[in-house]
Symmetry: C2
Subunit: 314 residues, 2 copies
DNA sequence: CGGTGTGCTGCTATTTCGGCATCACCCCGC
DNA sequence: GCGGGGTGATGCCGAAATAGCAGCACACCG
């Protein structure tokens, strides 16, 4: 429905090059070039600065770019809404997430949603904490499953759940019997650490650094899967939210002891949506589903993991 | 830049007929028809119900229509924003207004703005009070200069000014010397009245009706210009905000005595914008200018003509 | 100095689009 | 019943917009 020049313009801006954009679009570069020139003529201003190694949007180009991308996003959302009139929910749901949610939680939720609504597609991306703000505001994503951070602006938290960040260890670890722990109590026990600023949010990094606790990292990695194996081998304690390890905890292979550090106790995982963004029907369904599943986990964690009795939902 | 089918689709919905829309667009009806058919094929749903006497949007059509119109509005706003980068402000400012503002106030403001920014065009419409909500929410208009009414939802009041609704009369009228009046004090004096629900807002109609004051209307009309002449002839008292008669008041040809009826004292004229609407640069300028001029009038009315004082406002 | 990258531009083929005439249908008034 | 005027849909054809190909001019780099 929308003119091809919208896609061309968007791609050129993304690739920073007319030829690369044309390549990605599978059209001749001359076609893309002429559309851009015609567009500039229509607008009466230059939209790209021509450099020796490509093009870069001018101020006017940025403005028009915002309009073009918003139009494309709204078009997709409108199509999904129209399709949902016929009873079948369809469209693409775009989620940005904490890495820890990508390990167990979101795959399961996506699987369930996908079975229930076969025509819905999913795009789930892990984002670097520094890019969260831009990723939410750009309009490219529907919502995020992230740590709630008051520093985010222009973002609404439409559901949040307490997460007990805690020490993850084998059941035969000396500290495994404790009901709760402080970081200082962990001093002396070997720990496994995450790579800086990734996986765990910057808030937690600050808390760990500011607590004054001297933890001796035996293993450092940025792979949660690697960490999982390391902790199961008994090489040390890991500090995580339990969500990525829910299966091991249920099976009794790992024990999660909540930390009672004052700052960490308030950690919350929330569903964050860009303010003023209209959500597509599948996005709304997905949010409902994630909320439900997160609530179930919160219930499970509130009840002692000794007895793996099922709380409520299926 | 945008595909022609957007305009076609919008016009067809507005006119309720493909042929009429094609006529308004100055294209053959077959062209418009084919574009609509192609659009429906692309969407996979019927967008119009074909009736005996034209077409009517289906639910899916309404959804797409909203997207199309929003896209067109945002495009105009974006163009104005790009144009303002070059220093010259341009674009169309769409205002809905009280009729009383159209008589003296807005023409003057438009004239001043038009002189300062020659490339800005203006669309100023008087709207029936019952249509204010829709007119603001439809996205077709930038803002309204209207009585502030708490019943409006989804609308932000970004500036408001007290208006002293009062009795308008010749200087030689028996009541002309008063500092203030109540409606009951006007009983016995002939008055000229406005036609119901028009010009004066519904609030005021309620107030007039509920005050129990029995006023004898000698002349009833819906034309402010006609009222102006009638009052100047001394046929009676009129009840208006002074804005439409500011020239006569300044020249001493008419006197405006504020009413102290409890409900009426709180009347305010405000600049109302649809919530979440991004304003184009000329619209912002126009709002600033109107605010300034309204503030000047408020000052003029607060202090007798001999001593004009300024209240801070830019 | 050629090699590779960039954006731009004639030329030509193809696709799309618009205009005209026409058809089929429906409703209303005579 | 029967035109007349209204509607949207279609076939045909010319015009306009678009895309593809090849090539140009320029800038960088080793």
């Amino acid at each position: 429905m929308h003119a091809a020049v919208l896609r061309y313009f968007d791609h050129v801006a993304r690739h920073g090059s007319i030829r690369k954009a044309a390549d990605a679009l599978s059209v001749a570069s001359s076609a893309v070039n002429r559309q851009i020139l015609r567009l500039e003529d229509e607008m009466g201003v230059t939209l790209f600065e021509r450099g020796r190694s490509g093009v870069r949007p001018t101020a006017a180009g940025e403005l028009l770019l915002r309009h073009v991308r918003e139009t494309q996003n709204e078009y997709q959302r409108t199509r999904a809404e129209i399709a949902s009139l016929g009873g079948t929910v369809s469209g693409d749901v775009r989620i940005i997430s904490l890495e820890s949610m990508l390990v167990r939680f979101l795959p399961q939720v996506v699987d369930e949603m996908s079975a229930r609504h076969p025509k819905v597609t999913f795009t789930v991306l892990a984002v670097h904490p520094s890019e969260i703000g831009e990723a939410l505001r750009s309009g490219d994503n529907d919502f995020g499953v992230l740590f709630v951070d008051a520093r985010h602006r222009g973002v609404d938290v439409i559901a949040e759940f307490p997460t007990s960040v805690g020490a993850l260890m084998r059941p035969d670890h000396p500290l495994a019997g404790r009901k709760s722990l402080t970081l200082t109590e962990c001093v002396g026990h070997p720990v496994v650490m995450l790579q800086d600023r990734w996986l765990l949010d910057a808030i937690m990094a600050m808390e760990f650094a500011g607590s004054g606790a001297r933890l001796s990292p035996r293993v450092v990695s940025n792979s949660i899967e690697f960490m999982r194996q390391v902790i199961r081998s008994g090489l040390g304690i890991g500090f995580f939210t339990p969500i990525g390890f829910i299966d091991e905890i249920r099976r009794g292979e790992l024990v999660h002891v909540p930390l009672v550090e004052p700052g960490l106790a308030q950690s919350r995982i929330g569903i964050l949506v860009p303010r003023y963004r209209r959500l597509s029907p599948p996005a709304r369904l997905m949010i409902n589903h994630i909320s439900e599943r997160l609530g179930a986990f919160a219930d499970f964690l509130a009840a002692p993991p000794r007895r793996p009795k099922r709380r409520g939902r299926t």
